[in-house]
Symmetry: C2
Subunit: 406 residues, 2 copies
């Protein structure tokens, strides 16, 4: 994975500070160790799931679903997978009904994922589904050791898997939270982790990503008051759900009261898909307020030879320049053209990430790259990257409303 920056940052002291902080953080933040985990227990668990099960259903929301969805939807269009994967992540009744129509309970296994075991969305849906299909063997619960949810699971004799220590939801895709549903669908989780490990080693062992990540993080942090919107412009439809994962990771980690001043700060993530969003959001980047940085993502090798035919259309001869061009080549030319147009503006920070291809190792790299970048920027803009106190107020109000109706 190449990362070409079109901006610089030269204060070595800032970069050294960020690097040291992150190196230390490894002692108490759990996600850093995930690439080296022992996956044998996951495979052992997967072998307990009957071969007649053709659908995996995740009941979970936010960090419990976005990561697995990002990886699954990245790989799915390129390959026939072992099982289908669905996600119940909304209390929208129309959405629940539509999903139910796709599911055969007898051929499905349900993964109920909740750290606390009290997530309103997850348990509203679980109660509803369990009422329709009361076979505990069809459910696995993924939760904290000793949680009330684990106790419940044991009381009905259902399988339980444990979340690892000190790994927050939005950093949990490379733990059981993501790996179990992905492995059950036939995604190669060893390759996924090997990609993550490759980025981790490059960063911590003086590989080329160390300098790149530190420069990018320091630039974003220094200019966070001006360039406080960060657009990820991915030229591949397969990255649509990766963008959603990125939005949670970036927004929920970096939108905070500062640790030492309590000022409100935040970097706003926006996920875009090219070339489609050239026809939607590009105008605003090009001519709007100068508050946006843009990271382009392109896929070097789509493993695709589809070409635009050598055909002239009468009266539309100007389109002959497209003839014989591969679609894979075209989409990357489109990405390059827009990159050049933005660079010509001179006041829009731009960088490009080049992915080798569409496979597990590549998405593993991209995930760990963004996790490291988030941790670095969080440290430098002085926030606690790993909590989310701002979502509590709404939950408390909802609880009160629920009590009032009883």
């Amino acid at each position: 994975m190449l990362n070409r920056l079109h901006f610089t940052f030269s204060d070595e002291k800032t970069k050294q500070h960020a690097f040291n902080a992150i190196r230390q953080e490894q002692q108490h933040i759990g996600y850093y160790a995930l690439p080296e985990q022992n996956t044998a227990p996951i495979h052992d668990y997967c072998n307990t799931i009957n071969e007649t099960v053709d659908t995996i259903v995740v009941i979970g929301i936010g960090g419990s679903s976005l990561g697995a969805k990002a990886v699954y939807e990245f790989i799915k269009p390129t390959r026939t997978l072992k099982r289908k994967l669905y996600f119940f992540e909304s209390t929208d009744p129309v959405n629940i009904a539509a999903l139910l129509e796709k599911i055969d309970f007898e051929k499905s296994h349900f993964l109920v994922i909740s750290k606390s075991g009290t997530t309103v969305e997850t348990f509203s849906i679980y109660k509803y589904l369990f009422n329709l299909h009361r076979n505990p063997a069809s459910y696995t619960f993924i939760t904290d050791p000793g949680s009330p949810l684990e106790q419940y699971a044991k009381s009905i004799d259902a399988a339980v898997l444990h979340l690892p220590d000190n790994v927050g939801g939005r950093f949990s895709v490379l733990s059981v939270v993501g790996l179990v549903p992905l492995a059950l669908c036939g995604i190669d989780i060893e390759k996924l982790l090997s990609g993550a490990k490759c980025v981790k080693e490059s960063f911590f062992s003086d590989g080329y990503l160390k300098e790149t990540l530190l420069t990018k993080a320091a630039f974003y942090a220094k200019h966070h008051a001006q360039y406080h919107i960060n657009c990820l412009f991915a030229y591949s439809e397969a990255l649509k759900y990766f963008c959603e994962w990125y939005v949670q990771l970036w927004g929920e980690s970096l939108g905070k009261h500062q640790r030492h001043s309590a000022f409100n700060v935040g970097l706003t993530p926006i996920g875009l898909i090219g070339p489609k969003d050239q026809h939607s959001f590009l105008q605003l980047i090009m001519e709007g307020t100068r508050d946006k940085s843009v990271t382009f993502i392109k896929v070097e090798d789509f493993h695709d030879k589809t070409q635009i035919p050598q055909r002239t259309l009468e009266h539309l001869e100007s389109l002959d320049v497209l003839n014989g061009l591969g679609f894979a080549e075209l989409i990357n030319m489109q990405c390059d053209s827009v990159t050049e147009a933005l660079l010509a503006q001179e006041d829009i920070p731009v960088d490009t990430l080049v992915l080798e291809s569409i496979d597990e190792a590549t998405i593993g790299k991209l995930i760990f790259y963004y996790e490291l970048l988030t941790s670095l920027v969080g440290e430098l803009i002085d926030v606690n990257t790993y909590d989310q106190p701002g979502v509590e107020a709404g939950k408390i109000i909802l609880k009160q409303k629920l009590k009032n109706r009883a």
Copy 2:
């Protein structure tokens, strides 16, 4: 459709100016007249499409696809429609291959939508598909009268429909661009237009939406330097693609050089879906920089009676407060709870749109409401709402690259 604002704007002169400008604009901007159009020609055209056709395929991008997609995806989960609707809107080869697998050429009709007839994405895909299925009777072209594309269509003896005058792509959903694919799928376009007309009349004929829209637009415009990110937080999965339509409408219309100063201004649109994005983006709104306004959208009546069962789960008794609650009631309680949490912050501009239900008239209202709001804000922040000069630079670079390879 109710719209409750939790902020005020009292300068009557600004509002009067905006209202007069929009009233005048109707003389040369075409979208205002669309609610009253004669739809007989659209129905006549639809009757020419064989009943054996079960799939409509739009080849178009941006304004040529987002509007129809927003309406179709809003209605689809609630009803069995007459035909399926697919969109080819990317040059991503993996995406093209995946879509092709879903399509039976013999049972499909293709709508090629392009104002100019030179859109690179649309014609790369068209050339490819036409090479696979060379039957002109399977294609209809929607373009400007007299364009080279119309001449081509006539040369192969294919059907042609004309775009209306002075209606830009992102304002074209209520013209043939959106109405033809929707009518072919059995969506009631009369009801869609009647919804739009209802909002139009309320605005222009001193209905309650006149004051609401003017207040909201004036507030957004006055504070555009501070609250320059506008979040649309919709509590219904059915509005996911409406959000994408909104992002194009808002971003491409309002991200511009100002008319009189040439300063870069812009309002950045963000589409969110609740409750899912409470677990992703809400933290940033609650504790991040105070640069965001939030519009909540809720559906008053989901026409759904699904309830959470009256069941106690051992060790999880705290969840009993959910028992017997309808999902429709729950999702709206979640919306109300987050609204109250934001209002308690006191420095986040919030308003709520309440949709009656999920049907054509409702989405017609919502569309016209946002079109009017966009026009009003564009006038007040001094931009040309209807052009998009910023996207040309990338196109010119791409053309040069295409020529260079020849």
